[in-house]
């Protein structure tokens, strides 16, 4: 099957390179193509405003008759201070950026100015706007497989960017979530939630033809493939085409510079700020190629022919670190410096989203972990396996790898919500963040270490094969895991859909000289009992009590026993579902000095690793090491900085 996929890909690449360029690298269609959206947009670069007309052909691919189509008007989340988005983001503070004051240019909106049907009749009265969502009531019920056409005129005023969409007050425009976008009829109901501070997006696949007219000195990047450009006086129209994508985004700046690279039929384009060193540009391309290579080998082929990386300017950091189909934004500091790993990591992360969100298009409103969480896991693997950066922090001999970082964040966040929770229903922003990113990454890291990397690779590959372009849900992912290993699936299910926890603990460990029993011994002949003193015998008796606090345990966990002579023995604890502890009692000729549960740190979901070890005897040559080294370093640094 994989060979077939590669042949199809090869043919696709050959066709697209020899005959004509296309938005797709693998010939489509890959999806139901629920809609075809044709937009003609004109940017007023001074006002950061887009005037557009949109022809939407929407097909009912469900098996029920529909009476209405709900729409998102995401930009309206920025229209007032009392929108759900603004209130939830504490007046406009999100992702490390915030709204800069209350001036008019800090706000934005999308206003639908007219709605006509296919015949050109005005049907505006059927359009009802309610903040950042709207509903179009159909003139007659839309039967399965029937299509409806709407001509919608709208104006999108970009806000000063602090959360993904907007302008920088100068020449940079990031035009995201800018047009009326239909909701998704999913699992028997419409999913068309408001724009929440903690949620991203969910929409149907379709094709886009978008014509963007703006001043000729602006460079434009957009979802899909640039078909052609036509200039008239000082304006240029850019014609973009995108197939089998669920969103269309574009950016324009007269200050952009451009660099391009190729990887196996994918044109990677970097729109960056100037000046930017060659090393930094290469670093971005290396990161992008490392992502594509890893995904190609471990998950599946990237179906599109383009990927645009956009570096927002410094005063538009809020647009950075975001993913859209075939276009992602990186961070503002791409310079080849101490930030280079972070810059590469962000790019790898955002390109990963082109799989977990771009290709799978899971419901990010309600199951954000399926995008952010799986992506955080694969990002760590790409960084270490393909990009060659295992550690996210490295100073002298101190290092922190990605699984450790995710473990720490997970362990430090109280487990109050299941991972699978609607984005706006978590107890706090930290709850959303950990449960969407670090905890699912930790769950998958645990699965990788306990059940093996091969099984995770099988899972990801099978998930791609079966659910690419099909809006999978949590249970679809778990169902595939079940086919590979039922115990792995059970673990995944518990970890993702419940608030079960795990914290292994060595409750006690005792090791002492074996006692030869003594006391009275009764004789058969009825004479007086004989007496012998209890004595210390040869060898040692050990007693170890292990406890699991919480129910989220793998089928078994290793326990490392270290003896006085330095020898070790690894035993397995088959944790019982009903009894949360076990007691081991045995004898040997060596004294036990230490017990350590999970010595290879496989169960990264463990809330506290520091209670996994217990010493029977004090070993003074252990814990002083870091204390003495740490204080010595501090003292010397202090003395040399101020020679007193």
């Amino acid at each position: 099957m994989q060979a077939l996929q590669r042949i199809v890909l090869l043919i696709g690449v050959l066709c697209t390179s020899s005959a004509m360029a296309s938005a797709l690298r693998m010939p489509g269609p890959h999806t139901d193509r629920v809609h075809h959206t044709h937009i003609k947009a004109t940017l007023d670069a001074e006002k950061h405003r887009v005037d557009a007309t949109m022809t939407l052909r929407w097909r009912n691919t469900t098996d029920v008759t529909l009476n209405e189509i709900p729409f998102h008007l995401y930009l309206n989340a920025f229209s007032r201070t009392d929108t759900i988005f603004m209130k939830e983001s504490n007046g406009g503070r999100l992702r490390g950026d915030s709204r800069e004051g209350d001036d008019q240019d800090k706000f934005g909106y999308v206003q639908v100015t007219s709605v006509n049907n296919a015949n050109g009749d005005d049907v505006s009265q059927r359009w009802m706007t309610d903040g950042d969502v709207a509903t179009y009531t159909l003139a007659q019920p839309l039967m399965p497989n029937e299509e409806v056409t709407l001509n919608i005129a709208f104006t999108s005023q970009l806000p000063k960017v602090f959360a993904r969409s907007g302008h920088n007050g100068d020449t940079f425009n990031f035009v995201a979530q800018w047009f009326p976008k239909p909701g998704v009829f999913y699992k028997g109901k419409w999913v068309n939630h408001n724009y929440h501070a903690n949620t991203e997006f969910f929409s149907d696949f379709g094709n886009y033809d978008v014509e963007i007219t703006l001043p000729s000195d602006y460079l434009v990047g957009a979802t899909g493939y640039l078909v052609k450009k036509e200039s008239q006086e000082s304006l240029t129209t850019h014609y973009f085409q995108a197939e089998d994508v669920h969103d269309f985004v574009w950016t324009a700046d007269s200050k952009f510079s451009e660099a391009t690279a190729e990887w196996n039929g994918i044109t990677i384009r970097l729109l960056h700020q100037t000046p930017l060193s060659e090393k930094s540009i290469q670093n971005q391309f290396d990161a992008a190629k490392a992502s594509f290579k890893w995904f190609d080998e471990k998950v599946g082929a990237y179906p599109y022919s383009t990927m645009t990386l956009v570096q927002p300017p410094e005063n538009a950091g809020g647009a950075g670190g975001m993913e859209y189909p075939t276009l992602v934004t990186t961070i503002t500091d791409l310079d080849y410096s101490e930030y280079m790993h972070a810059a590469a990591m962000v790019t790898i992360h955002e390109i990963g989203h082109n799989y977990w969100q771009g290709i799978f298009a899971s419901n990010e409103f309600e199951e954000s972990w399926m995008d952010e969480g799986i992506n955080s896991y694969t990002e760590g693997r790409i960084m270490s396996e393909t990009f060659g950066q295992e550690n996210i922090l490295q100073f002298a001999q101190f290092s922190v790898d990605m699984p450790t970082m995710h473990h720490v964040r997970t362990a430090q966040t109280p487990t109050l919500d299941p991972v699978k929770t609607h984005g706006w229903k978590y107890v706090s922003r930290a709850g959303y963040s950990t449960n969407s990113y670090s905890k699912p990454a930790t769950i998958l890291n645990t699965v990788e270490r306990v059940w093996g990397k091969d099984k995770v690779d099988q899972l990801l590959k099978a998930y791609y094969k079966r659910w690419a372009f099909k809006h999978p849900a949590t249970q679809d992912f778990i169902a595939i895991a079940k086919e590979i290993d039922p115990s792995m699936a059970r673990y995944l299910n518990d970890a993702i859909t419940t608030i079960k926890n795990i914290d292994f603990e060595v409750k006690s460990a005792v090791s002492g000289k074996k006692q030869v029993a003594g006391g009275y011994t009764f004789n058969d002949d009825g004479s007086d009992p004989s007496f012998s003193k209890p004595e210390k015998g040869e060898g040692f008796v050990h007693q170890v009590t292990l406890v699991r606090n919480g129910e989220l345990h793998p089928p078994q966990v290793d326990v490392l026993l270290t003896f006085e002579d330095g020898s070790t023995e690894t035993r397995q604890w088959q944790a019982d579902d009903t009894i949360p502890w076990t007691k081991w009692h045995w004898e040997s000729d060596k004294k036990l000095v230490e017990v350590m549960i999970d010595p290879e740190f496989k169960v990264l979901l463990d809330k506290d690793f520091s209670n996994n070890t217990k010493r029977v005897a004090k070993q003074g040559n252990q814990s002083w090491r870091w204390a003495i080294s740490l204080l010595q370093n501090i003292q010397h640094a202090f003395s040399i900085a101020l020679p007193l």
Binding site: N391, A396, Q397, F398, S399, V400, D401, P403, T404, H407, V408, A411, Q412, L560, T562, E594, M596, P599, E600, F601, K607, D608, F609, S610, N611, T613, K614, R615, K618, G620, N621, Q622, S623, W624, R625, W626, A627, I628, S629, L630, L631, Q632, N633, I634, Q635, H636, A637, F638, S639, I640, L642, P643, L644
Partner: protein, 262 residues
């Protein structure tokens, strides 16, 4: 330089005694952090070498689940003002004894006690100098990039060393109970600019080497087969090397002062 080294050799026990006093002041912090390590951070160095991701995991989990580490750091923070005051007093005592070319432990400690407050007063007045010099370098650094930024980082370091040298020359006047120590200290520095350059270069080179050795010591200490004897000997030797380097700085400034004022 010969006179400096000769004076330094005369004062060698100052380095040993200062090291001992500093260790005593930091002992509670060592003790609390050691106890925290014993109780909460039971590490098996064969499995979790110091600095590894697994070790960091244990450390953070132990800190999160037990406040003892925070107490250890708190003890360290509380010890720092005492450490600073002791260093200031002992440095003033060292300067006074070096001026007298005589080292008697009782006299050195007596000089330290007598000169603590004058030295502290000088230090507070002197603070304006590094604030201005280093502040300017830092501002220039923040507005530049690439190689120019690196140049300004070097300027920042030089500005700090220059300020320290100024303070050390001025301290000579303070412990000699002479007025206008800061102004006169600058005069001595101006006439000893070559000495400053040589002393600062030696100080930075050896100081950098000691910091490198510190990291090597950290690495060696982190290996499970390293013994307690090596750790204590290593800590003492590196501590002593640091104190000798500081003594070199101090005696060099006494010699410079003597050359100009005698």
């Amino acid at each position: 330089m010969k006179n400096t080294l000769s004076l330094m050799w005369k004062m060698k026990w100052v380095a040993v005694a200062t090291l001992f006093i500093e260790m005593l002041i930091l002992l509670p912090a060592y003790f609390v952090l050691f106890r925290f390590g014993e109780k909460s951070l039971a590490v098996n160095l064969a499995v979790t070498p110091v600095g590894s991701s697994e070790h960091i995991t244990l450390l953070i989990d132990a800190i999160s689940n037990n406040p003892a580490f925070v107490y250890g750091i708190l003890v360290l923070v509380l010890a720092l003002p005492l450490l600073f005051l002791s260093k200031m007093a002992l440095a003033a005592g060292t300067m006074a004894s070096a001026q007298q070319q005589e080292l008697k432990l009782s006299l050195w400690l007596s000089n330290a006690g007598r000169n603590l407050f004058p030295a502290l007063g000088l230090f507070l007045r002197w603070l304006i100098i590094p604030i201005v010099l280093c502040g300017l370098a830092a501002v220039a650094m923040s507005f530049t990039d690439g190689t120019v930024k690196k140049v300004f980082i070097a300027v920042l370091v030089i500005a700090w060393l220059f300020s320290l040298s100024w303070f050390s020359f001025a301290l000579n006047f303070t412990v000699a109970r002479e007025k206008k120590a800061l102004i006169r200290g600058f005069g001595v520095l101006r006439k000893n600019i070559n000495r400053f350059a040589v002393t600062a270069a030696i100080f930075v080179a050896i100081g950098g080497f000691i910091k490198l050795m510190d990291f090597s010591y950290f690495s060696a200490n982190s290996a499970s087969e390293t013994g307690l004897g090596f750790a204590i000997a290593g800590a003492l030797m590196l501590g002593l090397a640091t104190r000798l380097l500081i003594l070199f700085w101090q005696t060099s400034h006494v010699e410079g002062w003597r050359k100009v004022t005698s």
